[in-house]
Amino acid sequence: MPGKPRKRSPLKLPEKPYIALGLEGSANKLGAGVVKHSPDGSTTVLSNVRHTYITPPGEGFLPRDTAQHHRQWAMSVIKDSLQKAGISLHEIDCICYTKGPGMGAPLTSVALVARTLSLLYHKPLVGVNHCVGHIEMGRQITGAQNPVVLYVSGGNTQVIAYSQQCYRIFGETLDIAVGNCLDRFARVINLPNDPSPGYNIEQEAKKGKRLLPLPYTTKGMDVSLSGILTSTEAYTLDKRFRPDCLAAEGEDVITPQDLCFSLQETVFAMLVEITERAMAHIGSKEVLIVGGVGCNERLQEMMGVMAGERGGQVFATDERFCIDNGIMIAQAGLLSYRMGFQTPITKSTCTQRFRTDEVRVAWRA
């Protein structure tokens, strides 16, 4: 809150360097990262390795195949991250893994590896909430003090603000996540999934010329996205739709680029609105955008316009940290661990539903 004196952080400076390995696999990205917290209070990313399971155009990723991908790549991704960090597992203090939320089978595959390493090297396990991982990494990289966080990815769409040791959800999607909406539309128009469907939609949208009317569905502090997806898909059945973009000059046509552009403009405007509501509610001047959709430069631009009008600013990270990665799990996990949190192996399960506000943020005042 503006004007109040800053409370002393309960997280003391570490008396020795702490190193953590983080393992992430809640969706189609498998990540391993090593982070170091030094006695001078600085945080260093020692390595951040990721491998993405990319499906052919027009297809999404299913739990069974994604889990298989993670099982296949786990050893090489982890070894690569340790090698790049120049350390061995003997030197780390804890092994952090994504407890949830996410897809069940992929999460469990990664947890199995985490448990095995924990028993082999006698290191404690720390189960981490994926959303909190994004937030903590965003805070660390950008240095934002107390922002309203817009967490937007393929699996989650939430507006979050911190208060009294809890990341409270101010607004969220009532049905599907914005990344899910964009990815599913990318499938309908057969965009490639390499490097990610969202990136390709962003590039196509830049070539769009028409803004087509789509339902604008903010619901108070929340948003609803499944209806917009259906409407955008319905345009592809419209007789004016030209998938190959061939049209005579002046002809009334709708191209896939126009639809990408219209979809992005509409959903991003909705997200900016609900973020603004939260900012007005709290009196905050900072916005931090995290999650895979946060890489989108148009979203950052639109948010920047809104924040500028309010005398605030937008913080965002690049794709190394926006997109799911292991280092964010290591960061959030190590912060928990330094406050005394550990996950006993018998409780080191994974869960598909894990609310952001269920985590006790002990490391903040």
């Binding site: 050893m75 061995s88 199995l112 448990r115 095995t116 399960t349 994974c350």
Partner: protein, 99 residues
Amino acid sequence: MTDVDHSSWHKVTVRIPFASEKHAVIAKQVIEVDKELQPQAVVRTIDVEGDELVATFTTLTVRLARLTLNAFLENVDLVIRTIHEFGEEAERGPQRNAL
């Protein structure tokens, strides 16, 4: 859980040898954490006998026996590969002065 008559159910036993009892115990501790997805239709036991991991699955249908066993073997394979990749180094202990 009330007593269910398992006599007509299907039972599969799998024995997997490990390099040592220690590794078999690690595999047991890692895999047994996750509960079966359908406990009312699948009963699982995991034990270590010597250096062998022994798992039995008693299932209501043959299809469930196939699915459960397949998932179990995929998981065991992952644990075995992890031990194979990191086990020796873990056993050797820290080699040089820590950072």
